[in-house]
Symmetry: C2
Subunit: 522 residues, 2 copies
């Protein structure tokens, strides 16, 4: 597929005439053709209008039909895997193996949601039969299930050009729920976005979806995105990116005449608590595994471990191994120059905080667009006294904080909300500190024992979410089957004749789904 | 129990010295002793501090233990049913039968949530076992379940002194979820609040709950409530009341350093669509049933039918019967003088809108604190042209809008979000207009066929919620077992040893709950 540099407005393409920007080769800074054209206000309005028209049609389709659409998207993406890998390496600087792995994750997510809606029990169908003779008042027949919210705006993420972008988890879960999607491309990988956009549009046509079930808009800066979020047609927002970007969308959504939910995954430093038992088990092996997690993908993961609490006094082996690894580390190409510069700024700002020392560096923070691993050190009193030490450094840098287990436990409630929190230690230590688990649970969406936060399994039990400001809405997950619930609301039908009920709520249960009938699982 | 007029700060009582106001006898306007004392800033802070301390202790209690607490509250409330009825009649003007019925609903709700958490499956436990040999990467052991959000602020409602107040649905569902509750009393029934507050505190002491699991604050105006919602300890808000009150709380919650969810049930005019078949079946009987729903509780229900679309031309019998009933109707004592005055203001404002005529009135809108039933009439073109015709009139008044079925269908998308929407017609008409159901579904949380919206069944399939501005968060229900989910968030535990997992997530399933294991229902 040739790249044209224009938006997808339903089945049509946007026009030229409003250049928004051009991708650059992450490794060299060379510009990449074509020049991308921002969606015009008319094109944006048309995409929204098409989404509104598509919604009732798309929402009424059976789960099996929407599932076929998701599977067709997955197949179309697989058919262009080579092109995605080639363009992706250029635009993002990520290695080809990562792009191919992320393609697999993306198609896997689409098929996971397809399977969920083909099976159908996810709608949480509840039936209570009438009791016309009940005293003092008759009980009516009442049935409820989850229904789609309406058209959803999805923002592509800089750090996951496939799995959190055009046909990533937000889009897959919204489409699965029955919501049309209007995607806003990320300026740093517009070519990958266009390739995937083409795949979605082909899948929509091949499976007979209504026009407007999907559009993909390019835009200069944040303008197009803010216009879309403010538009009355849009009923929810999915976003993965910076705290500034996420909170700006939250403000726009809250200021609408009708406020709408925003699911923004924004920032997290993913604290790792290392107890003495873990250090005694072998500080060097632990440091090696930690360093691998820290530097995976040049540290550009939402779950990157940017904060380590080291308990007790047996810290030398861990610290010297981490110092050695970091000093000998290799800088890596970051996603784009702005991210590299922001990484340099964040690590430099941390380095000059009082009481913080630079334990090790693999080079200048951002030399030639390459982010260099870095480890900083402080003590727990300094950490507690200075909230700036909790600022995210998006990249391969971490802050090690030393203290006693008791001091660490006292400090946890002062942490901001996180996506993850990790404990390293022995089973006995975990049992001896129930308050540690309880305190971390209140600050994070996922707790990990003797592992690392990077590597987010896509499955039914994943929670990729967490208290604000890790996300805008800690009641949700953006990964795994739980993600579909973000785009739904319950609706009840009282005294409806069977013929007018959705099949999920009919007595004969034609879809053979699990239901709660008169309070009991059916 | 003698009324003292002071707040409950955990197990202590507030001090005198800061008079906030006094209840009045709804029927006569006479003041009722005692004078209520506003919680001081120190007392408010202490209640919040106690809630924060209670939270980890209370959240860790087994469902069976929390269930025993809810059942003890129900028993304590039943033990004071006579006192509640006596004081309630004075403070609210509601008839004794209604207060006794509402007492039963309140204790029924408490026991429904007790049963839900004693059984335990509501936590949506999900288990995915490790696959250490999976290629290309091992799969970790990952388990998730719903956990409580933290301390919740609950506002008492003017129109439900029991079922939506101190120990009403918000409190019951928050306590069931594992969240301590700080209740803000309503100035219009402080005595009922104090009686119920005493019942909750006695139940908490009898069942060994941590101090701070419950507090009840009196306050002058909105000051105490806003202070509580802005406080960092509070993690969610439950509210039933006016749109002005609800949106003020939404703004406070959104402006916090950490925004929190607000579940505000605010306003709804609950459209009723009457198709020709229903009118042909008998306009007089329908008008009689409608009038009964309209005037139930002097129209002071969130689900009061304040808007009727009459389709077709066979409208005479319905309209003349409704006119006759209304003209012969009896004004009723409203909850408080402010509500009566607001009712008079809203109906007077509607009466002077261009194109709106007054079909019938039972008297002056608010004579001697009595609200008089009123019915207004307009045509659909006038209705569509004037958004003011959608303003809620809290009380026994409705606006009848005449038009064709096609015109009504076109008008529905212009309606604001509603708690309920009702259709009267034949099964054939319902089948002939699938777009009517689909359109109403997008504007309401509950759809009713050939019934009336008043009478909200408390059960597993009830949805008492709806798109903004009916509620602040249309993804939720404030009635029925679904209400518990408002006060929870999912948490995942990765690679945890069995001993450190909550019992809900252990392989041996000691609580014998329903779970999703490796994607399959267990």
């Amino acid at each position: 597929m040739e790249l044209t540099g224009t938006s997808f407005i339903g089945r049509s393409r946007g026009a030229a005439g409003n250049p928004a920007g051009q991708a650059i080769t992450a490794a060299t800074g060379e510009p990449l053709a074509p020049v991308y054209q921002a969606a015009s206000p008319e094109e944006t309005a048309r995409a929204l209008e098409l989404a509104a028209t598509a919604f009732p049609v798309y929402a009424a389709l059976p789960g099996k039909t929407r599932g076929a659409f998701l599977r067709a998207i997955a197949a179309e993406i697989e058919a262009i895997a080579d092109a995605l890998a080639a363009r992706g390496v250029l635009e993002t600087g990520l290695p080809e193996a990562r792009l191919r792995g992320e393609t697999g994750r993306t198609t896997g997510q689409l098929r996971m949601f397809a399977a969920l809606i083909e099976e159908g029990s996810w709608v949480d169908a509840r039936i209570e039969h009438a009791q016309p003779d009940r005293q003092p008042a008759p009980k009516p027949d009442l049935r409820s299930m989850l229904r789609p919210l309406g058209p959803v705006a999805v923002f592509c993420a800089s750090n996951f050009p496939l799995a959190f972008s055009v046909a990533g988890g937000d889009t897959a879960s919204a489409l699965a729920a029955g919501c049309p999607v209007v995607v806003i491309a990320h300026h740093s990988h517009p070519g990958v976005a266009e390739l995937v956009g083409g795949a979605v549009v082909r899948a929509a046509e091949a499976t007979g979806m209504p026009e407007g079930v999907f559009s993909l808009l390019y835009g200069g800066g944040r303008k197009v995105g803010q216009t879309v979020v403010a538009h009355p047609v849009i009923q929810a927002v999915g976003f993965t990116g910076s705290r500034a970007g996420g909170t700006a969308l939250m403000a726009t959504a809250a200021a609408r005449p009708q406020p709408i939910p925003v699911y923004a995954e924004m920032s997290s430093i993913n604290p790792v608590v290392i107890l003495e038992g873990a250090l005694r088990r072998g500080g060097k092996a632990l440091a090696t595994a930690f360093y691998q997690s820290l530097t995976l993908g040049v540290g550009q993961f939402c779950t990157n471990p940017g904060l380590v609490f080291l308990a007790g006094e047996t810290t030398d082996e861990f610290l010297s191994a981490l110092t050695e690894l970091t000093t000998a580390g290799t800088p890596g190409t970051m996603l784009n120059p702005a991210i590299c510069q922001a990484y340099a700024g964040a690590t430099s700002a941390l380095a000059i905080q009082p009481g913080v020392s630079t334990l090790a560096r693999a080079g200048a923070p951002c030399g030639n667009g390459q982010g260099a691993p870095a480890v900083f050190l402080t003590d727990i009193a300094t950490f507690r006294a200075n909230p700036a030490l909790q600022h995210e450094m998006f990249g391969p840098a971490t802050l090690v904080v030393t203290g006693t287990t008791a001091e660490i436990l006292e400090t946890i409630p002062a942490l901001e909300g996180q996506l993850t929190a990790t404990i390293h230690g022995t089973d006995e230590e975990l049992a001896a500190h129930p308050g540690l688990v309880a305190a971390l649970e209140r600050r994070a969406g996922r707790l990990i024992f003797n592992g690392f936060p990077t590597g987010v399994e896509v499955c039914s039990s994943m929670v990729h979410g967490g208290p604000y400001p890790a996300t805008s809405d800690g009641r949700s997950s953006s990964v795994g089957t739980l993600a579909i619930h973000r785009f739904t609301r319950p609706v009840a039908y009282q005294s409806f004749p069977a013929a007018a009920l959705p099949p999920e709520l009919r007595d004969d249960n034609p879809l053979a789904i699990r239901r709660l009938v008169d309070g009991n699982p059916g």
